[in-house]
Each structure stands twice: as C-alpha cells, then as structure tokens.
C-alpha cells in the first residue's frame, strides 16, 4: 500500500496515554490535514512516524515500507518539517541544505544541484550564502520545506509548520505544500490546530486526546457548517 498508513497505533508516556489505537490512511498524492488541539497527540504521532521513538503496538507504513521491518527504507521516503526549527543558525543556507543532503547519502555536484533546485523553487537562491540566523521566521520555514524535498521523498510530514508566522506567510506556505501534493504527487500529512489551513478537498483526520474522532474528506466531515464550528463541537476546544 502506498501513501501513508497508520494502523492501531498506541503510545503512552508512563501512565499517560498519548495515542490510543490510532488508525488512518492517506492515499498516495493526497494532502491530509491532521487536525487536533494542543495536547491531542500530534507531535507524539510525528515522533513515531519519524522513528524518533517506536511503539510496540501498532503499525506504520510509509510509501509501502513497514517502519518496524524496514526502517531505513521507510525513512528514505520521508521528508519532515518538525514543529521545532531544526536548522543550524550559524551555518549558511547552502551548508544547511548540503548537510541534510549528506545525511541522505547525497554529496558533491548532485547535492549542490538538488540544493540549488530546492532554493530556486522557493525563490531563495540569492540567499544561499547568508547564515540562517539572518533569515526571518518565514524564510527559515521555507528553507526547512526546501530542505525536506532534497532527497525526493514520497511522503511529507509537517508538524505545525506555520507556528509563529504571520497570516500572509502562513497562507503562502500552506498553499505551496498543497501545490506539492497536487502537482508533484507527494503524499502530505500536515498537522495543525488551525482550521483555516485545511481546504475542502483535503483528507482530514481529527485527533483529540490521543483518539481519532473522524477521518474522511474535509467537505464530507464538516457538512454544511464551517470546519471551525464542527471542530469546536467535536473537541470542545476553540481552534
């Protein structure tokens, strides 16, 4: 099965259950919004999807690769943007990209051409020599997205990537990643607690207190009422 598949995944921090029997499937090339209030278990799910830690219960499949059986093949297919910035502030934009490329086994001309292409796509080529510390929050996020595409993953995982950004930048980045899904066929899992980042045609998983409340397309789930109202009704939390 391609795309992204999570089956019966549970995880606990000591006695605190963070994820409880979570199952959903994101078809190949689909944009799926993982919507949940703070503390819903989104970041825990991302930790498991990126194998920062593992759970004895449940199964994760990335682009047809079982995370438990073939972790390296599964990780090869993932591009990830964590909620916390993971850029090296003291290194240049280009060095950040080529360092990441090297962690995926890419070096020399190939790494540089991939880095340049990634920067071109986000219109940041002219800033490649600048240190990351000199970039604003929006450009740093763009850079992280550019970076996660360098090794040509099939599945993109973005954990609240627009946190701390202004509305315009937030919108631009959301649109951009939607385009990646439509135009390049990337499977996207986009965790957020902001309903305005979800489009009608998106797949939607509503996560609350470690439980999946609903899955389906956004338009089907929300019906006639605005998504924000529906989300508030289901979780009792203002998004």
């Amino acid at each position: 099965m391609t795309g992204l598949s999570v089956q019966n995944l549970s995880y606990a921090y000591g006695t605190k259950q963070a994820l409880d029997d979570v199952s959903f499937h994101v078809p190949s090339g689909a944009f799926c919004a993982l919507l949940g209030p703070n503390g819903a278990g989104k970041s825990t799910l991302f930790g498991l999807l990126t194998r920062l830690f593992t759970s004895p219960q449940g199964r994760i499949e990335i682009a047809g690769q079982d995370m438990a059986r073939n972790p390296r093949n599964a990780l090869k297919n993932i591009g990830v943007v964590f909620q916390q910035p993971t850029l090296d502030l003291d290194l240049s934009v280009q060095l950040n990209l080529t360092y990441f490329a090297a962690l995926h086994g890419l070096s020399g001309k190939l790494a540089r051409s991939r880095a340049d292409a990634a920067l071109d796509r986000l219109n940041m080529r002219d800033r490649s020599k600048e240190t990351v510390r000199d970039l604003n929050g929006g450009h740093r996020r763009r850079l992280e997205i550019a970076r996660c595409l360098i090794h040509r993953p099939k599945v993109l995982l973005l954990d609240e990537p627009t946190v701390g950004l202004d509305t315009t930048t937030r919108r631009a980045i959301t649109d951009y990643v939607h385009d990646l899904s439509v135009n390049d066929g990337l499977t996207v899992l986009w965790a957020t607690h902001l309903t305005d980042e979800v489009q009608n045609s998106d797949q939607l998983v509503i996560l609350h207190k470690g439980l999946v409340l609903e899955t389906g397309t956004c338009s089907t789930i929300r019906g006639a009422i605005p998504l924000n109202d529906h989300f508030l009704n289901r979780t009792g939390t203002d998004a």
Binding site: T54, T86, G105, L106, A172, D179
Partner: protein
C-alpha cells in the same frame, strides 16, 4: 491572493543525473558521505565558537602555569616508567592535562547533544535513513577530532613554555588520543541519552568530570595516592580516565602501555554500547514532548 514569491517554479523532479551505486560501495558511500558532513559541520561550528576554543586552551594552561608551579616544591616525584630520569611536576602533569582537554570536550560535546536535542537539530540527525549507531559514531568521531586538534595546540604552547617531547612521541600520541577521545566522548554520549533537560547537566558535570579527573593519575602518581589511602589508590586504578592518562603518558614518550590501551578500549566499547542502547528508539529516551 497567493504570495508570488512562493509560486511553484519548475518540477520537483528536475533533471539531474542520479548516481546509483550498487553493491558494497553503494552501501558504504552514503555512510562515508554522512561522516564527512558531520565532521565538517562540527568543525565549522567549532571555528565559529572561538571562545570555546580559547576556554579549552586556557583551562589546562592555567593548571600548568599556576597549579603546577605551586606544587613543584611540595611534590617530589620518583623515577617510574615511562620516565627515565627525575621529572619536574610541570612535565608530569602534561599528559593529564591532555586528558583533561579530552575529558572536558567529551562532556561539552554531550552537553551540546542535549542542547541539539532541545533545539531539534539532533532530530534531523536521528531521522536520517542511516543506522543510528553509525550516526552516533560519526558525531563522536567529529568531536574527538576537534579535541585532538586542541590537544596538539596545547602541546605547541607547552613546547614554547619549554616542555617538549620527541617527534615520535607526538606521532604515537595520535592513536592514544583517538582511543581516549572516543572513550570519553562515548561516556558523554551515554550520559546525554539519559539527560532529559539541559538544566540537569550541571549536576552530571560535577558528579562525573571532577571525580574522574581528581581520582586519576592526571595530577598525582598512583604510588603517591597509595601513601595517603589504599582505597583512593584502588579507586584511581579502576578509573578508566587513569588508564587513558597513562596511555597518553607512555605514548608521549614513544612507549606502549598495553594494559592501559586494553582498559581504555574496553571502556570505550562499553560506553559506546551504552550510548547506542540509550539512543535506541524502542527505549524512547530521545522522545520529548514539544
């Protein structure tokens, strides 16, 4: 309205020549590429943090110039291997101070690992498709090489100060420093896997670095320890840092201390195994709620 600066331009799969390596080379090359990148990154970070370099150099120099000068009169040293003749205290503590650089750097490197984890850049490393044990070794090797560079800079200064060793000593020292650096870095790595927050690190520094340093042969020979307390002597003998300092001491004089090498290697393997275990994703020690 869409931000025009974020419009898609070109294809994600723009043509470039993918080099697909097969067989053993295909398996090894990505690992070596990552090793080089991690060493380069650590070196660049080090170059940008000049204060760290100065601090690493000032600490042993202070011990050499101030502490050793004061102790020279108080402490008499007998002729024991590898020394062939009477040795001044300044000369005696140089190997220990080399070890001190490696010890402090090993711990500082693990502090930066905790810091990296807090910042998130450690996540980037751990989500690479390369084996996690290899990534940890790469990180360890990178920090060890930087420490070794600092030791040689320190020895250059001591040479100017008047304490010189033979060219063979400087050469034989290199593998001794590598083993010692990997051992102490491995200890730091194992500790970093167990430390959840940066704030907890100061305590570990006090409970690890200072006892390891003072309960070793870095400042006093073992026989001197035995004179004051047999228990202290036994603890010092068991301390892997003692073995590492003796390995360095013998190497600086172009000699080989097999026992010290064996114990340092054993400690290195144990600490490395502990860190790989500590960073095992199934243990969940690297999990941090954000």
């Amino acid at each position: 309205m869409r931000d025009p600066s974020l419009q898609l331009t070109g294809s994600l799969h723009a043509s470039d020549t993918d080099v697909v390596r097969k067989g053993l080379l295909g398996a090894i090359m990505p690992a070596l590429v990552a090793l080089r990148a991690i060493i380069t990154r650590e070196s660049l970070r080090f170059v940008r943090q000049r204060s760290r370099f100065v601090a690493a150099l000032v600490r042993p120099l202070l011990w050499l110039v101030v502490f050793a000068a004061g102790f020279r009169a108080a402490l008499g040293l007998s002729i024991t291997p590898p020394y062939q003749t009477y040795t001044t205290y300044e000369v005696y503590i140089v190997p220990g101070l080399c070890g001190m650089i490696l010890l402090f750097n090993g711990m500082q490197s693990s502090l930066s690992l905790v810091y990296d984890r807090e910042l998130g850049s450690m996540r980037l490393l751990l989500t690479s498709p390369l084996p996690r044990w290899w990534l940890l070794i790469c990180r360890l090797l990178a920090s060890t090489l930087i420490s070794i560079l600092q030791v040689y800079v320190f020895l250059s200064v001591t040479a100017i100060y008047g304490i010189r060793f033979s060219p063979l000593g400087y050469l034989v020292l290199l593998p001794a420093l590598l083993v010692t650096g990997m051992m102490l870095g491995g200890l730091g790595l194992a500790l970093s896997s167990a430390i959840k927050q940066l704030e907890n690190f100061a305590g570990v520094m006090n409970f690890v670095i200072f006892p390891m340093f003072f309960l070793s042969t870095a400042l006093y020979p073992l026989w001197k320890m035995a004179e004051s307390s047999e228990l202290l002597h036994d603890i010092c003998t068991l301390n892997p840092f003692t073995q590492a300092v003796e390995l360095i001491r013998f190497a600086l004089y172009g000699s080989f201390n097999g026992v010290a090498l064996m114990w340092t290697c054993i400690a290195a393997v144990v600490f490395l195994a502990l860190s790989v275990w500590g960073y095992d994703p199934a243990r969940g020690l690297t999990r941090r709620k954000t």
